[in-house]
């Protein structure tokens, strides 16, 4: 960044002088260059292919396409300008980034990126949901197949990978990027270009994943176990490149979030005043930063096994499928806490505002979040209890897995303490938070069944474990995402979501979700394995029931989409600045939000949850300290005047 920007303190703006590559950099250029990149990659890859499977061409095609897309959209401009010494001015680039077009192009404004992320994640969720509906359609009858078994497994794999993309990024992406800068009192993230990059890696990942059926799809599930993955056709290259892009997005966003939260807190924003949502994002960012590189490395090994005939994972040639299992789950288990930690953050953030009480046991809650962060590194082998490795370590992994219920229990305690003697408003976000608590309770309890090795012998790899993680991710994380959407939508878009429709949506979704997924515990106990395209005839009634309620659940999400589109684009009423009468700083901002967050850097004077204390000061002094002409702050209390 030019120094002038930092003094200015507003969100960084793409500079006119950065756009001197001889071609206009925008999304259309990006798409054209991506097509060119794909073609070039295929030519190069097929030219050098060592075996006749032609994976090299597809892998290089996807890789080149992703890179060229990023170049076309404008990511190369700034580094090239610096490299060649072109003048970087602090003049705004003009009005060509105003209006909806701005949201389709590279923007360094964290508010724009938050909205871009929200829309992209909702679209990805729709694709994943359509996959789920096709799966449930196929499972209406055990035989004859409605969907051929190879196509069925491709649907399962694409649904799971798409939903893992969504679950990885759908909280930190939209809400973290949008609100963390407000909550800590800064005008921008520490690395605005990395923030934009963390978003623009996502659309290529989604498109590449959706391209898998063109090459026959892939039948490996989201775990991508070898040697099954080695057998898969070029469809599996979508998994490798798409997942790598998401992994890079996690790393980039994690580093950025950690740096921002550590270094750019405004004066008075001490660690103990940090909103609990920021703590949730912070702990998930720790995991993203350190776990996703393992995924990227493992995927690179997988790619080499497929193209240049290395044998990392092939036991008949000296490798081992156990290596992939361990690398994958060493990333994979922290990954599931990347899903849920920000969801904890959302629920604990929203509860005090709607209970109108301080967050009960704030410090304990922080310890709980960080405890989960720490423990999540020591449990990965519970996915491999029955794989035959390291029997002597199983008691340890059993114990460490069960230990996670202690910090998770703290989250429930904090929620209970906050609800106790509260003055609860049953708003739509609150309903979804309470729904989260119920669903996550079921998910957590069923997790205990899976953590004990002897009971895991019966439940492992069955529909029981499938129901378990859907309760934690759909019933948990997705409910939290929906709560956050209802809660923050008026600040993000300037429009209230319709609250009556919201209440219908809650009951619709809550009932359909539970009626769809609760019977799946029984299916697992009745020996129905996961990822099967057929099942025992006596389970048909159960499966038809599940399918019907799954369709109803999907319809509830379409209803949600209708509410979003209707309220956003077809009601023309600006939302009140603080519809929830909440204390936290984002609600002190006007609606619609000005381009620059804070004219002067705010000074935080009290915590965000100081309800019930008549003498509590507003959360921040927006007038700023006398010399507030700089970004961020050291996070220390201002000296008493």
């Amino acid at each position: 960044m030019a120094t002038a920007d930092i003094v200015d303190g507003g969100p960084p703006i793409i500079q006119a002088s950065e756009r001197r590559l001889g071609l206009p950099t925008n999304i259309l250029t990006g798409i054209v260059l991506a097509a060119v990149g794909y073609w070039a990659g295929v030519q190069v890859g097929n030219g050098f292919a060592l075996n006749d499977a032609l994976n090299t061409g597809v892998l290089l095609g996807y890789t080149f396409a992703s890179i060229m897309f990023l170049v076309g959209i404008g990511f190369a401009n700034y580094p090239l300008a610096r490299l060649f010494g072109w003048r970087v001015t602090s003049q705004p680039s003009g009005d060509d980034h105003a209006g909806p077009w701005r949201y389709l192009n590279l923007s360094l404004d964290h508010k724009v990126i938050g909205v871009q992320y929200l829309v992209a994640m909702l679209i990805a969720m729709l694709f994943g949901g359509i996959g789920a509906m096709l799966i449930r359609t196929s499972l209406l009858v055990p035989d004859p197949p409605i969907v051929a078994p190879d196509k069925y497994l491709t649907l399962v794999s694409m649904h799971s990978v798409m939903m893992v993309f969504v679950a990885s990024a759908a909280i930190v992406g939209p809400f973290g990027n949008f609100f963390v800068p407000y909550m800590i009192g800064t005008n921008r993230m520490a690395f605005p270009r990395l923030e934009a990059l963390s978003f623009w890696l996502v659309p290529p990942a989604i498109v590449i994943l959706l391209a898998a059926p063109i090459f026959g799809g892939f039948q490996t599930g989201w775990t991508g176990y070898t040697p099954l993955a080695e057998q898969a056709d070029q469809g599996f290259d979508s998994y490798i490149v798409g997942f790598t892009l998401i992994g890079l997005a996690l790393i980039v966003s994690g580093v950025n979030m950690l740096t921002t939260i550590i270094t750019l807190r405004a004066p008075g924003m001490t660690w103990t005043r940090l909103p609990i949502f920021v703590w949730g994002v912070f702990s998930a960012s720790i995991l993203g930063t350190f776990a996703a590189p393992i995924l990227a490395a493992a995927l690179a090994m997988q790619a080499m096994d497929r193209t240049i005939d290395t044998t990392f994972f092939i036991s008949s040639a000296g490798g081992s499928p156990y290596l992939w299992e361990n690398l994958f789950w060493f990333f994979g288990h922290p990954e599931v806490y990347i899903f849920i930690l920000p969801a904890f953050g959302i629920v604990l953030e929203l509860l005090p505002h709607f209970a109108r009480k301080p967050l009960w046991g704030y410090r304990t809650a922080v310890v709980g979040l960080l405890g989960v962060t720490l423990l999540s590194w020591f449990v990965w082998q519970h996915h491999l209890f029955l794989s035959g490795i390291a029997p002597a370590l199983r008691p340890f992994f059993m114990f460490s897995t069960e230990m996670i219920s202690i910090p998770t229990g703290i989250v429930f305690l904090v929620a209970f303490g906050t609800l106790w003697q509260a003055r609860i408003s049953m708003t739509v976000p609150m309903l979804f938070c309470l729904g989260f608590l119920f669903n996550f309770l079921v998910g957590g309890l069923s997790g205990v069944f899976l953590s004990d090795v002897p009971s895991d012998v019966t439940l492992h790899g069955s529909y029981f474990s499938m129901a378990h993680f859907h309760y934690t991710i759909v019933g948990g994380e997705i409910f939290a995402i929906v709560a956050a959407t209802y809660y923050w939508f008026p600040k993000m878009t300037g429009r209230m979501l319709n609250q009556t429709l919201g209440k219908i949506h809650f009951w619709w979704m809550m009932i359909a979700f539970n009626l769809a997924f609760m019977p799946l515990f029984a299916a697992g106990l009745l020996d129905m394995p996961r990822r099967v395209s057929t099942y025992a005839v006596n389970l048909q009634t159960l499966n038809v029931w599940v399918s019907i309620w799954a369709f109803i659940l999907f319809a509830s999400m379409l209803f949600f989409a209708f509410n979003i589109i209707w309220s956003w684009f077809f009601t023309f009423k600006v939302a009140p600045a603080n519809p929830w009468q909440a204390r936290s700083i984002e609600w002190l901002m006007p609606t619609p939000l000005p381009r620059r967050n804070f004219e002067k850097i705010p000074v935080f004077t009290s915590g965000p949850y100081d309800y019930g204390n008549p003498s509590a000061k507003p959360v921040a002094d927006l007038g700023g300290p006398p010399d507030s002409g700089r970004m961020g702050g050291l996070g220390v209390e201002p000296a008493p005047s």
């Binding site: 006749d52 499977a53 059926p213 026959g216 684009f569």
Partner: protein, 223 residues
């Protein structure tokens, strides 16, 4: 309010176009991929009682097919059973399958499948070419696992039949012919598959044609 109507119309158009595009994408995906099945083949009745017969061809590459050419197939270089892989047969009947085996030997990963099981008489009839390229005929129950070109197995009915790969010395355009019969029981839908790892280009040979329905895999619909 005066501004409102034109904006509503424009936005509505965008929404309608987006939904239409999504539905078009979904339809294309459903028709060409998700719900795509190979055609069904009803077995021909034979003169013997309740018997039916099916004539099949196995090829090293679909483009080399003789009896059942399939020029429009998207994978002309894959191995395959032809003409299709979904067969309809009556319940409680004798099904006779004869296969023109035109592919060479690939070998089994588990030599156990080199022995025929579950077929009437325990032996299959085979006309083939020996290592010198001379035509031979015989009834067999076991052949060496390394000589298998493909196999025809219906695991749930206990039917496993090895198909010997054609000798390298055989005249061009010739084939081994393997004939066997088995009994069907009650109605039901059974999968059948090849146990020979014949899908080239991937480890252990179970890629492409071996991991895609409709080439080396199919269904036996017993009605």
């Amino acid at each position: 309010m005066t501004q409102r109507n034109p904006r509503v119309a424009g936005r509505l158009a965008v929404v309608v176009l987006a939904v239409a595009a999504l539905l078009a994408l979904l339809t294309a995906f459903s028709v060409t991929f998700v719900f795509h099945f190979p055609p069904q083949l009803t077995a021909q009745p034979t003169s013997v009682g309740n018997g039916v017969s099916i004539h099949l061809e196995t090829v090293a590459a679909i483009s080399d097919a003789i009896a059942f050419p399939r020029p429009e197939d998207p994978h002309p270089d894959w191995v395959s059973y032809l003409p299709t892989t979904i067969f309809k047969v009556p319940a409680n009947s004798v099904v006779t399958i004869s296969i023109d085996q035109e592919d060479g030997a690939s070998g089994l990963r588990n030599p156990y499948w080199g022995t025929a099981q579950g077929i009437i008489g325990g032996k299959f009839h085979m006309s083939y070419f020996d290592d010198a390229g001379a035509p031979q005929v015989g009834d067999f129950s076991t052949i060496d696992g390394s000589t298998l070109g493909h196999s025809f197995a219906i695991p749930d009915l206990g039917v496993f039949v090895p198909l010997q790969g054609i000798s390298d010395a055989a005249p061009a355009g010739s084939h081994n012919e393997i004939t066997f019969s088995f009994k069907t029981g009650a109605a039901g839908i059974f999968r059948w598959q090849c146990f020979v790892p014949c899908g080239a280009g991937s480890i252990y040979g179970n890629g492409n044609a071996m991991s895609t329905f409709g080439y080396m895999h199919g269904l036996l619909i017993v009605q």
